[in-house]
């Protein structure tokens, strides 16, 4: 099916905050396709709409208009609870300020998505420790976030984003708080662990030092994608945007609780 290999499909997506004279057009007709297996970066100056686009893609904000399909789902069509379950199952987050829970150890922080999914504490924390070990963090599994360096916190946040095997990982300024060398190491780790053929990675960043890790870069300004650099690492064929939504959604399955797109 056409949805195969497609993580995000966006056509003319807009987002408007406020009403009347106080209206702010944060997104002005975003057309963007993100394929599984790709590392896509959203770059641009502050206020260009990068974070809003990320919030809309992840269902944290509703789009005002346009067509948005994420992993075969239309977030706008999902009820609140279904949207939360969709995020829990399919999305991994790496926040700019990591947002680790200060009271939990590194391993417990990593385990949070599994705990949210109902996995028993011992099992979830054990899995968290395993994952930290693969990120060379086994010796810090019992440390609190306050005892970790910025790079270590970033790795814990990455492990938390990966633990439940999501199909789409979104990272907000993952290297902004890190020095160049640590930032580079984090990006190498991200590329090595997060990018897989069945997973897409979206990174919002200002940090030009990490652009070389991207397969595609969407340059944004004033709520628009003003330039799309494709095929930077030759991972994605250099074709244009994929077909229109009607074609894309033609095989929508009625059996899925989320209205999954067939394929």
């Amino acid at each position: 099916m056409i949805a195969d290999g497609m993580a995000v499909f966006s056509r003319d997506v807009t987002k408007v905050f406020g009403h009347g004279d106080t209206q702010v057009h944060a997104l002005r007709g975003i057309d963007l396709d993100i394929r599984l297996g790709e590392l896509t970066m959203l770059v641009g100056p502050s206020g260009s709409g990068k974070t809003t686009l990320l919030s809309v893609i992840t269902g944290l904000l509703d789009a005002t208009s346009g067509e948005l399909v994420v992993l075969g789902q239309r977030p706008a069509m999902l009820s609140g609870e279904d949207l939360i379950l969709f995020r829990r199952k399919n999305l991994g987050f790496v926040f700019q300020q990591y947002n680790l829970i200060p009271a939990l150890t590194a391993a417990e922080n990593v385990a949070v998505p599994l705990l949210a999914g109902g996995v028993k504490r011992q099992q979830a924390v054990a899995r968290g420790k395993e994952l930290l070990a693969t990120l060379s963090m086994a010796h810090r599994a019992h440390a609190l976030p306050s005892e970790l360096s910025g790079g270590e916190q970033q790795r814990v946040a990455l492990a938390r984003a990966l633990i439940h095997e999501p199909k789409l990982i979104v990272c907000d300024e993952p290297t902004s708080a890190l020095d160049g060398r640590t930032g580079h190491a984090v990006m190498e780790l991200l590329s090595a662990t997060a990018v897989r053929p069945d997973r897409a990675l979206i990174i919002v960043t200002h940090d030009a030092r990490i652009f070389d890790f991207a397969d595609r870069i969407a340059h944004m300004d004033d709520g628009r994608i003003v330039h799309l650099e494709e095929n930077r690492k030759n991972v994605v064929p250099a074709n244009r945007l994929i077909p229109a939504p009607a074609t894309l959604l033609s095989a929508e399955s009625s059996s899925s609780s989320f209205g999954m797109i067939g394929g």
């Binding site: 974070t51 990320l54 919030s55 992840t58 944290l60 904000l61 609140g80 609870e81 939360i84 379950l85 995020r87 829990r88 199952k89 999305l91 987050f93 926040f95 700019q96 300020q97 947002n99 829970i101 200060p102 009271a103 939990l104 417990e108 949070v112 998505p113 705990l115 949210a116 999914g117 504490r121 938390r160 907000d172 300024e173």
Partner: protein, 379 residues
């Protein structure tokens, strides 16, 4: 996610203990003040409730409570006895006199003169001696608190003497009489002897104590006495409530205690509620991250309620522990003897704590529910 909620709660020790202490001290203050209030407001009825032999108190129509009595005429006793449905009626004197110890220490005492023949009205909780020793000349029974006042540091024993109205008072027994409102010592003696102890009064008959005949409702007998004699007749329970109400209406006690209870309630609610609310607000970004990651609102509500219940339960337990320690320490201390912490008060305070943490939780939950999870992407 429960352990996540608990770890978040106890992570900031200062706030956690602040919450616990706020609720603990509010609970303690509420229990303490209500307990003392109940203890004090029970005191006006002490001498009424201590008389367990009679069910009916007959008095002058103008007598409102047992603290201020307009004496009856002696023949009123016979008029009461003549009412149908009255099985028996006996005289009772209640007044005050001045007692003096051999070392010159003196104090106003409450003097109860009980029926010479039946000893109805004599104390039933005796620590030393027997009520039948009242039949001896000059005999009186003193309560434990009074004995401690007149003979401090001495073991409880009979044979001591006091002086009232230039007459010898021989202590033949020590009772555990309930504490009177004014904390005066309580002396029981025979009715005929009370006259000598208090000096010349024209009329000595304070009350007539009566018992209804078997099978006749006590209220009916009261009505019959009132109809036949024009006197006021009250059941023991009614009369004790009369005394309670009199003090409630005519003293500043309820207002003062009420203010303290309200202050404890408001301070407890505001401090505990606000601290808990601030605690949630400070964790808002973490809750936002949890929402973004996929923790449902229902689960987050559960986490907040769990935190509130733990704080409320622990604070309440500490508060009741402190209250129990206070009450057990001061239960037998003279001025505060008789204070009680009824289970109803404890249950009520538990309800108040539940209300406080409930309101704080609702405020916190509201903030978390309206929280846009996209907040996690803001720097």
């Amino acid at each position: 996610m429960n352990f996540v909620a608990l770890k978040m709660l106890v992570a900031d020790r200062a706030k956690y203990f602040g919450l616990i202490f706020a609720i603990a001290f509010a609970s303690f203050l509420l229990a303490n003040q209500i307990g003392i209030f109940i203890g004090i407001m029970t005191r006006p009825a002490s001498q009424i409730l201590d008389v367990v032999d009679a069910d009916i108190w007959v008095m002058d129509p103008q007598t409102l409570y047992d603290g201020e009595v307009y004496a009856l005429r002696d023949y009123d006793l016979y008029r009461v006895r003549s009412v149908s449905g009255v099985e028996w009626a006996v005289p009772l004197y209640k007044g005050t006199g001045r007692a003096k110890a051999p070392d010159g220490k003196f104090r106003t005492v409450i003097l109860m003169g009980v029926d010479d023949a039946s000893l109805v009205g004599a104390p039933r909780k005796m620590l030393v001696g027997s009520i039948y020793d009242l039949l001896q000349p000059d005999a009186a029974i003193i309560d434990k608190a009074g004995y401690r006042y007149f003979f401090p540091g001495e073991p409880l024993q009979v044979g001591k003497t006091l002086q009232m109205n230039e007459r010898r008072v021989l202590i033949v027994g020590i009772s555990d009489a309930s504490a009177p409102f004014q904390s005066f010592p309580v002396l029981h003696t025979r009715y005929s002897q009370a006259l000598g102890f208090v000096g010349r009064e024209r009329n000595l008959l304070s009350f007539v104590l009566a018992k209804p005949a078997p099978g006749v409702p006590v209220e009916d007998v009261c009505h019959r006495i009132e109809a036949a004699t024009g006197l006021r007749a009250r059941t023991s329970k009614e009369f004790s409530w009369d005394a309670f109400r009199f003090y409630l209406r005519n003293t500043g006690i309820p207002v003062n205690f009420g203010i303290t209870v309200m202050v404890a309630l408001i301070v407890g609610t505001v401090v505990a509620g606000q601290t808990f609310y601030i605690f949630t607000i400070e964790n808002l970004k973490q809750f936002g991250a949890l929402k973004a990651i996929g923790v449902t609102n229902r689960r987050i509500i559960g986490m907040i309620l769990l935190q509130a219940m733990v704080v409320g339960g622990t604070g309440y337990a500490f508060g009741m522990g402190m209250a129990a320690a206070f009450f057990s320490s001061f239960l037998n201390y003279g001025p505060t003897r008789g204070i009680v912490l009824p289970w109803q008060v404890m249950a009520g305070i538990a309800g108040v704590v539940l209300f406080v943490v409930g309101v704080a939780s609702l405020m916190s939950i509201r903030r978390v529910l309206v929280l846009e999870p996209a907040v996690v992407f803001r720097g």
